[in-house]
């Protein structure tokens, strides 16, 4: 009973899938049912459920468990886990695997996220779908390796040099770690770029109930294939609102993929005229589709005078604070960012017409608060509640702060 063979499979994982079928094994890619697992493990399961079959990563607290889960689970589903020599190599490897036609992901925390930045830029410029999970911890530099932070939010948006669009999803629970990682893969395929899942050490290491639905209930976006003939196919077509379908290595399209500024054929062209098309395309595909990507949760905002804007683990304390205040008839509300990027600018602008004050608790010295301040303009006051890192806001702390503005 051996799955090894001198002959390589034609399609990735074919011989493993055949083995599973021949032995009438239950496929283990989607573990439908109720689980009691932490956020990191849930991110791994979300990836597998979305079809991820390649993980390249490097250990780093508090993201190591994502890698450990993938190392254990990928061999069960015909995938490959490889631990690279550093995060730079990990990011490069997941881009390569994506061009080989396999959905890929990696996971890291602040210091590794910094290392990945150059290749994230390569992924953006080459329009390569993949998922990067950043389980944030307190920084900068080595910081508090085992304690929570939320100070990579702006880095997700602007971390690599040059202009590009950003999609960043922020789970607030292990359940959302599963759900949003699945969504991240879908968004990566639709918008053809690396998509970030910005969790944090609290959500990543909290163990909670996670329900994995039946595969028929899961919405998975598969990679669209080019429909044109090779001579007519433009792998980096910038004329439409969505990116061109992606041709994989060996499909016969002979694509040239480069980080240099390139035209719609992928040929490097070192001119400002082509740069105009190239950059506007990679920025606009997110900017012009923002309303399709943005997700928020709103609690009590219909009549709120003060709105808390929060995300990740902080939003859990904020939710409790709003509940407590509402019980005492105070008009406080919560705007929870599920997507931090694209930022819900229009929503804040509209809310600022009637909301007096936005209170933004973050485990950083002000990151998303600047976006709230920028978009609220002069219409509403914006107050930052900052913890530098290492602990969460308590509901009582948030209530006391909000109370000053009610």
């Amino acid at each position: 009973m051996s799955v090894c063979s001198r002959q390589r499979g034609n399609e990735f994982g074919t011989q493993d899938r055949e083995y599973i079928q021949e032995n009438q094994m239950v496929p283990r890619d989607i573990l439908t049912g109720e689980h009691f697992i932490h956020g990191d493990a849930a991110c791994a399961e979300g990836g597998l459920a979305a079809g991820c079959r390649f993980f390249a990563g490097y250990p780093i607290t508090p993201a190591t468990e994502v890698a450990e889960s993938m190392a254990r689970r990928l061999p069960e589903v015909g995938g490959v886990y490889i631990q690279m020599e550093d995060e730079i190599a990990s990011m490069a490897a997941i881009l390569g695997a994506s061009w080989g036609g396999v959905k890929s992901m990696t996971s890291t925390s602040g210091p590794g996220f910094s290392l990945m930045m150059e290749n994230i830029g390569l992924g953006m410029m080459t329009e390569t779908p993949c998922v990067v999970v950043d389980v944030q911890r307190a920084g900068p530099s080595t910081g508090l390796p085992t304690l929570v932070g939320q100070a990579d939010m702006m880095q997700a948006r602007w971390g690599s040099h040059g202009d590009y669009g950003c999609i960043a999803l922020v789970p607030a629970s292990p359940q959302e770690c599963f759900d949003l990682t699945v969504q991240a893969f879908n968004l990566a395929e639709i918008y053809r770029q690396p998509v970030f899942v910005m969790t944090d050490e609290v959500v990543g290491h909290t163990t909670e109930k996670v329900v994995i639905p039946h595969r028929d209930k899961l919405k998975i976006v598969e990679r669209p294939k080019p429909s044109q003939a090779r001579g007519d196919y433009l792998p980096f077509d910038s004329s439409g609102p969505y990116p061109a379908p992606m041709a994989m290595a060996g499909d016969g399209f002979h694509v040239h993929v480069t980080g240099l500024t390139h035209d719609e054929r992928g040929y490097p062209v070192i001119t400002d005229a082509v740069q105009e098309r190239n950059i506007r395309h990679i920025v606009n595909k997110i900017r012009k589709n923002a309303d399709k990507i943005i997700q928020v949760e709103m609690i009590g905002l219909e009549d709120a005078r003060v709105a808390i804007v929060a995300y990740g683990c902080t939003s859990r304390a904020a939710r409790q604070a709003v509940e407590n205040m509402r019980k005492r008839r105070f008009k406080a509300g919560l705007l929870r960012l599920i997507t931090a990027w694209p930022f819900p600018s229009n929503l804040i602008r509209n809310l600022a017409e009637r909301i007096k004050t936005f209170v933004v608790p973050e485990i950083n010295y002000g990151q998303m608060a600047y976006e709230v301040e920028r978009t609220a303009g002069r219409k509403a006051k914006v107050v930052l509640m900052a913890i530098m890192g290492g602990s969460m806001h308590t509901p009582g702390e948030i209530e006391e702060a909000v109370g000053r503005y009610l």
């Binding site: 090894c4 390569g96 290749n119 499909d251 002979h254 980080g259 098309r277």
Partner: protein, 307 residues
């Protein structure tokens, strides 16, 4: 916010197709080269043309279809080969061709992936990746063009620049000895190690052909002239003069110990196919030792046996 933008010049596919030379297809190598990309950017006397042609000849001689092949390159003059080849090619970030290629070949194991890059890209910034790719024995064919400097940026010192050689950042002479690339590749675990110069195109083609037959990490160092970046400051002369130097100073020693392959300024250049060995590649190890165990355990679990 309100934005003022320049008017876009739309992509004109017809104009692009018209601009492609009418005589593309006349040369037998043209089917391996992307139309409209010649003339290339390399200097007169550069050795990259020879190495690229040797690569094409090897693909042709082994009867490989371009759809079975892929090339991954890094940044530098050598990295530009990717843009000229009519196959799936990936021009990645500086030093990171090997890990990118690792992901690519693990996703599509039946592709013959060549990592075609320069000495600085593979051994300075990319050195760590080279070591690990060789250790793991990922199935990649590394073709390293060594011109002893960073040519694209104007001829700066590289880890291969010999002691006392002049470059733009060692104007008074290099204070560091150069790396012995075959020795490093061999020590890291490469299953095939060879070095040729552009004066040895036939042997270079033979070596590239041999690497297409092997599984695992293969390494070929192709020494090439760089008249502008290296030849001129070191008073070697033109590209042809440098090839005369290779003819005079090179010694073919097939099967020699790579540790003897050090290159010094004015010294002998040892060339040859030094190492040709076998060991399981990454995927073979992964499948037989890891996947098999995982599937056995899953099977046992299903049958009710303790995992």
């Amino acid at each position: 916010m309100e934005t003022i933008l320049r008017e876009l010049q739309p992509f004109d596919k017809e104009a692009m197709d018209r601009a492609i030379e009418k005589d593309h297809g006349l040369h037998p190598d043209d089917k391996f080269l992307k139309p409209g990309r010649i003339p290339h950017i390399w200097c007169p006397g550069c050795g990259l043309g020879v190495v690229l042609t040797c690569f094409i000849e090897a693909v042709r001689r082994k009867g490989l279809s371009v759809d079975e092949c892929a090339v991954v390159s890094g940044i530098g003059c050598t990295g530009r080969v990717a843009g000229y080849l009519e196959m799936d090619t990936y021009h990645t970030t500086h030093g990171r061709a090997l890990p990118f290629a690792t992901g690519l070949v693990l996703a599509k194991p039946n592709l013959k992936v060549t990592v075609f890059s320069g000495d600085g890209d593979l051994f300075a910034i990319g050195g760590n990746h080279l070591i690990h790719a060789a250790r793991r024995n990922i199935d990649l064919k590394v073709l390293c063009v060594n011109n002893f400097n960073y040519g694209m940026t104007g001829g700066q010192v590289a880890p291969t620049t010999p002691l006392e050689a002049k470059t733009s950042t060692t104007p008074l002479g290099n204070a560091e000895p150069g790396f012995n690339l075959p020795h490093l590749a061999h020590a890291s675990g490469a299953v095939y190690v060879a070095r040729w110069t552009t004066y040895h195109p036939r042997q270079l083609v033979d070596s590239i052909c041999r690497t297409f037959e092997k599984k695992g990490l293969t390494f070929i160092e192709a020494i090439a002239p760089c008249p502008i970046g290296y030849g001129r400051p070191n008073k070697i002369g033109s590209g042809l003069d440098e090839m005369r130097l290779y003819r005079e100073m090179s010694e073919v020693r097939n099967g020699a110990d790579p540790k003897d392959a050090e290159i010094t300024l004015g010294g002998k250049i040892m060339v040859g196919a030094f190492v040709d060995t076998e060991r399981p590649d990454f995927l073979e190890n992964y499948r037989t030792k890891v996947v098999a165990k995982a599937q056995q355990r899953a099977g046992d679990r299903q049958k009710g046996r303790a995992a």
